[in-house]
């Protein structure tokens, strides 16, 4: 039975089901609670009859969610396409079943050659859209590329598409077939390198399909997707398939803006097969439903499970078993699983996938089930035949590998294991048998959830905790949804069952609810700069690194604001023109005034930066007590003496309430900081800008200009209380006034209430005002000298420099004569305005330039490293080393340094391969491998180079992102390259699993090829020869056995 046929059947079955669903639905709450209102619309729009008048659509209530942005539009899939046949008379590809609305909508847009983003639930039928795009390109005699994040996925798609389309090619790191085909399947990394080197494949490219585009979130590889999306030529149509993500529209908008072409978003509203989530506490008690089909959390179910577990525990304690144990003994585990599997079988819940989030536990669980047998006799014989046929390409000793034998035994009983430690070929056998329904119970890690359509009836979670490299944590909603989504086969199961096993304890309710119903993670940019990107872009004129950075999803906001900045810049420039034409005539004092401005601006800048620090000196803190006289300058209150009333804290900053004198009754308004000023400014911003907006800076400068003059009121009695910050305090006067400051504040505050406005000030208050007035008058007439509290003696050295500078500037300002010019204020106003505009222009120019990009500093740093290491010259032209580095797929700097420092050239091929494994292998090992002298020396040399590179990076302030060198597999690879059989090298490692070794050697081969090309580039044929030999030596047997998906004599499983 061909798999694709089966899939089509499933699609067809599901189609009928949805139709029923749609008509049956009467405002039922959908699974996804965030889309509740849309579902309600469905119910309204879709009438019971089959004929749908088009006009009725307009009556539907508008969707509450935003559905349109500048470059993205969400298509409303709640209204069906009625004239699909008319719009697409001859489809490029037809299916045996009726298409769903979302598929039709997407296909319509594909026909229009538009970009499409399909965000649909697992197994909703996204593949249909991808297939249609490929079919279209075939009809147009152009090319299409299908990219997927994982090599295994590419292989599976290759088999599927080859059956559908015939002319299909596959390009992965270590396997190429039919590279000139019209439809090419490749990993995203391959597509990126094709774009960088401008491969002719791109030339007639019409459609690119990105499967699982939410991989953009991957911290390791996500940036590759972004690079590819930026680099793709504009005429290419982009088809993106993704799981449901909250910010689909934002992401689509970015893609649209980057490509200058609208992106249409199609998303499904619910899963085709709804899910039921259960808790399992033990065989006697059974399952507790905690989340039902519509996505509602059932608390009663949870509570029940919780109590049951508690009583169980108590009982156990009674029987004397230790309480509160976090782990069960393997024997206990085995019992739990055996009983549980039997129960599942009885309840007809198989096939099931049991997600066990560690490789070790996967193996152990599978091994524990020695007594379980889930297959019938005929199934057994088929599995036997299929297994033997699949491994017939292996060598005799490889077929006897412990893992192969063990897995065969498990598979015969209907149990499978799938994780990265399993040999790739065995993984494929497991996948194929699983798809045929012959694996009834599969123990798998998270990687299995990334695969193509491989659903089961039931998904089990052995645990909901995961070790993510640094920490054990609960699964994220996105991860949980991805895995749980494997439950429920379309057309076969009515609902999918998800069961969480609570072996020791029931997880917290909040924890569960959050994990099950929480929002999946938003797509976030993982864009980053790599040396290879910089070098690749430096060598061609196509796009600059700055351009690349500014087009990234990370800087999207920056990009979208460019237009606004441009407009602002335009107005600023216009205004400047206006002013300069007006002021040119009276330019007599222009120069001296603008000099004054520059000095004052610098002074104030320094002042405000360090004033806070200065006033935090213990000496000043001691002096700053209520009653202290201060010289302040705050807004229009310039150079006034005041009495400190109280100290407050506003937004972590110290603030001071100060009593000052004033002239006008009008200024007696409450002045709590900037609040009033701001609210006015924001309400009629346009107006105040038109006239002249008083700027705090303006007053500060006026204050500086009239430094020696202290404000003296014209009349007695006018006063107000200000709230000032540290940089408003010019100095602290030695004198102190003894009044009850609290009383003054209370009195003044009372009079701010309109009822008491006309009351005369209280006695304490008027006394204080009196004192202040007297002092002010005495000081200004010179009868009393104004003395300030001197600076503390033990000022920090760092601050001392600043102080020195401030003093210098102050001296200069004092020497400045410009404020003696008659009409100073008016003339200076012009200068001030002009200077402010200039400032703004500079600011805007900066914001517009790439310098304001968040990654720009890092870019400069990386360029410095490359220059210093000789990869590029000072004009950023790529040099020989840079060209060598461009050949590298990864670790570009390390490998280039290794090659050019002659670490590899004097070694034997096997040694070269072994040494390069340092860069590829990642797992930690418990035991130290045994190495020969040359290898030890080589490892030392590599470590030295790594240290040098790291030093260089640190010198320029780059945090080293390199993986630690790992010599754990050097010995293994060396022996493998020497020709030892796989079973023997497996004995060298007890803690590294077969699959990991195979993958490492496969990756190593890619690196070897890169180095081979590099050797050719630098003109060393001997090294090239060696690399070829090394590659040939490791490319053999089980490590490089052809994938079952890609081999021509594909032994398709069928009963």
């Amino acid at each position: 039975m061909s798999l694709i046929k089966q899939e089509e059947d499933l699609l067809g079955l599901w189609q009928e089901e949805t139709k029923e669903d749609e008509t049956k639905q009467t405002g039922k709450i959908s699974l996804q609670n965030l889309e509740v209102d849309i579902d309600a619309d469905v119910a309204e729009v879709v009438p019971k009859e089959d004929i749908i008048p088009v006009l009725k659509i307009t009556e539907s209530a508008p969707l509450k969610r935003q559905t349109q942005l500048q470059w993205a539009e969400e298509l409303d899939i709640s209204c069906p396409v009625t004239d699909f046949e008319k719009k697409v008379p001859t489809m490029a590809k037809t299916w045996s079943f009726e298409l769903d609305t979302f598929q039709k909508k997407a296909i319509l847009k594909l026909e229009e050659h538009a970009n499409v983003l399909v965000a649909a639930h697992t197994s909703a039928g996204k593949t249909v859209v991808a297939e249609y795009a490929i079919a279209l390109s075939k009809r147009h005699m152009t090319r299409s590329i299908y990219t997927s994040p994982i090599k295994a996925l590419s292989n599976q798609k290759y088999r599927d598409f080859r059956e559908t389309f015939g002319d299909v090619g596959l390009i992965t790191g270590d396997f190429q077939v039919n590279q000139t085909a019209q439809c090419l399947i490749m990993t995203t990394e391959i597509l990126r390198s094709m774009l960088y080197c401008g491969s002719e494949v791109i030339r007639d490219l019409e459609y690119v399909v990105f499967d699982e585009v939410h991989y953009l979130n991957d911290s390791e590889r996500g940036h590759v997707w972004e690079e590819v999306l930026i680099l793709l030529p504009d005429h290419v149509s982009i088809v993106m398939l993704s799981a449901t993500i909250p910010n689909t529209l934002d992401f689509a908008n970015w893609v649209g803006a980057t490509k200058k072409k609208k992106v249409y978003v199609v998303s499904t509203l619910k899963r085709p097969v709804p899910l039921q989530h259960y808790l399992y506490t033990g065989s006697k008690t059974g399952l507790f439903l905690i989340v039902e089909e519509a996505g509602k959390f059932i608390e009663s179910g949870y509570d029940l499970a919780h109590t049951v577990k508690q009583t169980q525990k108590k009982q156990k304690a009674k029987y004397g078993s230790k309480e509160g144990k976090a782990h069960l003994t393997p024997k206990q585990e085995a019992t739990i699983w055996t009983v549980f599997v039997a129960q599942l079988r009885k309840e007809d819940k198989l096939p099931a996938v049991a997600f066990t989030l560690s490789r070790h536990r996967c193996d152990q669980n599978a091994r524990n089930l020695t007594t379980v047998d889930l297959t019938t006799g005929s199934e057994k014989s088929f599995i036997h035949r299929f297994f033997n046929k699949s491994i017939q390409n292996l060598k005799e000793p490889d077929r006897a590998l412990p893992q192969v034998v063990a897995l065969q035994d498990l598979l015969m009983r209907g149990i499978g294991v799938h994780h990265s430690g399993i040999l790739p070929i065995l993984k494929e056998i497991v996948e194929m048998l699983f798809q045929e329904g012959l694996v009834k119970l599969l123990f798998a890690t998270e990687t299995f959830a990334m695969g193509v359509n491989m659903p089961a009836r039931t998904v089990l979670f052995d645990s909901i905790k995961k070790f993510d490299g640094c920490d054990v944590r609960t699964l994220l909603p996105a991860e949980y949804i991805q895995m749980a989504g494997r439950a429920g086969r379309r057309g076969l199961d009515k609902t999918g069952t998800v069961i969480i096993m609570c072996k020791v304890d029931v997880p917290g309710m909040k924890e569960l609810e959050n994990m099950m119903l929480g929002k999946p993670m938003s797509l976030e940019s993982k864009f980053r700069l790599t040396y290879s990107m910089i070098l690749n872009l430096f060598r061609v004129e196509m796009i600059s690194v700055e351009g690349m950075m500014s087009h990234s999803f990370k800087e999207f906001r920056h990009l979208s604001q460019q237009k606004k900045y441009e407009k602002e810049l335009e107005t600023v420039k216009e205004k400047m023109k206006e002013i300069s034409s007006n002021t040119q005539q009276q330019g007599l004092h222009w120069k001296s005034l603008s000099d004054f401005y520059d000095m004052a601006a610098e002074y104030l800048q320094l002042w405000s930066e360090f004033r806070k620090e200065f006033l935090a000196e213990p000496k000043y803190v001691k002096e700053l007590t209520p009653g202290r006289m201060l010289l302040i300058s705050h807004k229009e209150h310039i150079n006034k003496l005041g009495i400190l009333l109280s100290l407050e804290t506003i937004k972590k900053d110290r603030a001071f309430r100060v009593l000052v004198l004033c002239n006008d009754e009008k200024t007696r308004t409450v002045d709590y900081g900037d609040e009033i000023q701001l609210s006015v400014a924001s309400s009629d911003k346009e107006k105040s800008e038109e006239q002249y907006k008083p700027d705090p800076l303006w007053y500060k400068m006026l204050g500086l200009a009239n430094k020696k003059k202290i404000f003296v009121p014209d009349e007695v009695g006018g006063h107000t209380i200000l709230t000032v910050t540290t940089d408003d305090i010019i100095d602290i006067v030695k004198n102190k006034v003894s009044v009850d400051t609290n009383l003054v504040i209370q009195d003044w505050e009372k009079r701010q209430i309109s009822r008491f406005r006309d009351d005369p000030p209280g006695q304490t208050c008027s006394q204080a005002v009196q004192r202040l007035t007297e002092f002010t008058k005495n000081v200004s007439s010179g009868t009393v000298p104004l003395e300030f509290v001197g600076p503390a003696k033990d000022i920090h050295l760092k601050n001392f420099d600043v102080l020195q500078k401030l003093n210098d500037l102050e001296q200069k300002l004092n020497d400045c004569t410009s404020m003696n010019i008659a009409n100073f204020e008016q003339l200076f106003k012009e200068v001030f305005r002009c200077k402010q505009l200039e400032q703004k222009r500079e600011d805007l120019l900066y914001k517009k330039s790439p310098r304001s990009l968040s990654l720009y500093p890092e870019f400069k740093e990386r360029v410095c490293v490359l220059q210093e290491l000789g990869y590029i010259d000072k004009n950023n032209s790529v040099q020989l080393k840079g060209r060598v580095a461009c050949e590298m797929g990864n670790h570009e700097l390390m490998i280039t340094e290794m090659v050019l420092h002659c670490v590899l050239a004097d070694k034997q091929p096997a040694e070269i391969a072994a040494l390069l494994s340092c860069l590829v292998f990642q797992q930690k090992r418990k035991t130290e491998p045994v190495l020969t002298e040359t290898l030890k020396k080589g490892v030392r040399q590599i470590e030295e180079i790594a240290k040098n590179v790291e030093c260089m990076e640190r010198k320029y302030g780059i945090e080293s992102g390199h993986d630690k060198l790992n010599s754990g597999l050097v010995e293994v690879v060396y022996e493998w390259a020497q020709g030892k059989p796989f079973c023997e090298i497996m004995q060298l490692t007890d803690d590294v699993q077969e699959g990991i070794i195979v993958r490492c050697i496969q990756q190593l081969n890619e690196t070897l090829c890169d180095v081979k090309n590099a050797a050719h580039r630098i003109g060393d044929p001997a090294l090239k020869q060696k690399m070829q030999e090394a590659s040939d030596a490791i490319k053999r047997d089980i490590v490089f056995v052809a994938s079952l998906y890609t081999s021509e004599d594909n032994p398709k499983p069928s009963l």
């Binding site: 147009h140 005699m141 152009t142 090319r143 019209q182 080197c197 401008g198 491969s199 002719e200 030339r203 007639d204 490219l205 019409e206 030529p233 005429h235 430096f538 060598r539 061609v540 004129e541 196509m542 000789g870 004009n875 950023n876 032209s877 790529v878 040099q879 020989l880 080393k881 060209r883 461009c886 340094e897 090659v899 050019l900 420092h901 002659c902 050239a905 004097d906 050719h1016 630098i1018 003109g1019 060393d1020 001997a1022 090294l1023």
Partner: protein
């Protein structure tokens, strides 16, 4: 019509070397041993003979870390990925053109790697193959970028964007490839009123400046042989050509700045006079001085 003919004796030829600031580097001759020490890698222009690294060409030794190579004093063009080249079509073959780019082997321009008139997206078909000679035929000049280098050292070219393509009215100047400075951009619209493509392969194309919006519609394949280029433009182009030849004669590096300086310094001469050795040397010395001044700044 009068003609000036300058013929001079060999002894009267002027020395056109401009004394640079740096010392004359040590030149190695083929067969000369560079080093006998081990621990070095052999690069281009070297070979191993009885454990001694030996030069296989005459030139200067260059060392990058442990890699030793000899750069020949005179050689044909060695392409690098990303280089801009100007070349002449020599052959029309199946789905590809052969292009003379001053390298050892003719370069290849695949039909699938050119922009064809009428659309960015090429449909696959036999029609294109039959039309190949219509697009580019033997003797046509093109500008292109090096896309990749085959194992035998020959280059694969492509016209990645619309600024590449067929070259129509203008002047081709050939100089040593090593004299062209590698820069970020090799297309220049000079302020003096002409455009220039400084091919990395030593082929330099000078043509009248085409305004940008006109250029966009072309796709690099339209011919405007009937359009008459005004005399002033032609004079500018001729002067540029002579300046480039003068600079090349004095072994000065060619880039937009040096050419522009030379152009400005040559104003005191007639275009025609620039073909005589003395003005050539004069222009070059003045240009050199200006370049130094600029460097000092």
């Amino acid at each position: 019509m009068t003609q000036n003919v300058h013929i001079r004796l060999a002894s009267q030829r002027i020395d056109n070397t401009i004394v640079g600031t740096s010392e004359v580097p040590r030149l190695y001759t083929p067969g000369e041993i560079i080093t006998c020490r081990s621990g070095f890698m052999r690069g281009h222009g070297t070979y191993m003979e009885e454990d001694a690294l030996t030069a296989s060409v005459a030139g200067v030794v260059e060392q990058v870390n442990k890699l030793i190579s000899v750069r020949p004093i005179k050689n044909r063009y060695n392409g690098e990925i990303g280089d801009v080249v100007v070349g002449r079509i020599t052959e029309v073959q199946q789905k590809r053109w052969k292009v003379d780019t001053n390298s050892r082997l003719d370069s290849v321009l695949l039909l699938s790697s050119v922009n064809l008139p009428g659309g960015e997206l090429r449909r696959r078909g036999t029609e294109d193959e039959q039309m190949m000679r219509k697009y580019l035929q033997e003797g046509d000049l093109i500008s292109a970028e090096v896309q990749k280098i085959y194992d035998d050292g020959s280059l694969s070219l492509y016209t990645r964007s619309l600024k590449y393509g067929k070259l129509c009215q203008g002047v081709l100047v050939k100089v040593f490839p090593s004299l062209v400075k590698r820069r970020k951009t090799h297309f220049h619209n000079l302020p003096c009123g002409a455009s220039m493509i400084l091919g990395n392969n030593g082929f330099i194309w000078i043509c009248p400046t085409v305004s940008e919006d006109e250029e966009n519609g072309l796709g690099g394949f339209t011919e405007n042989l009937l359009e008459v280029v005004p005399r002033t433009d032609r004079e500018v182009i001729a002067r540029l050509r002579n300046c480039i030849l003068a600079l090349a004669n004095c072994k000065m590096m060619l880039c937009d700045t040096s050419i522009l300086y030379a152009f400005e310094e040559s104003q005191k001469y007639e275009v025609l006079e620039l073909l005589r050795p003395e003005p050539m040397l004069d222009v070059c010395v003045l240009t050199q001085q200006r370049l130094y001044m600029q460097e000092d700044e």
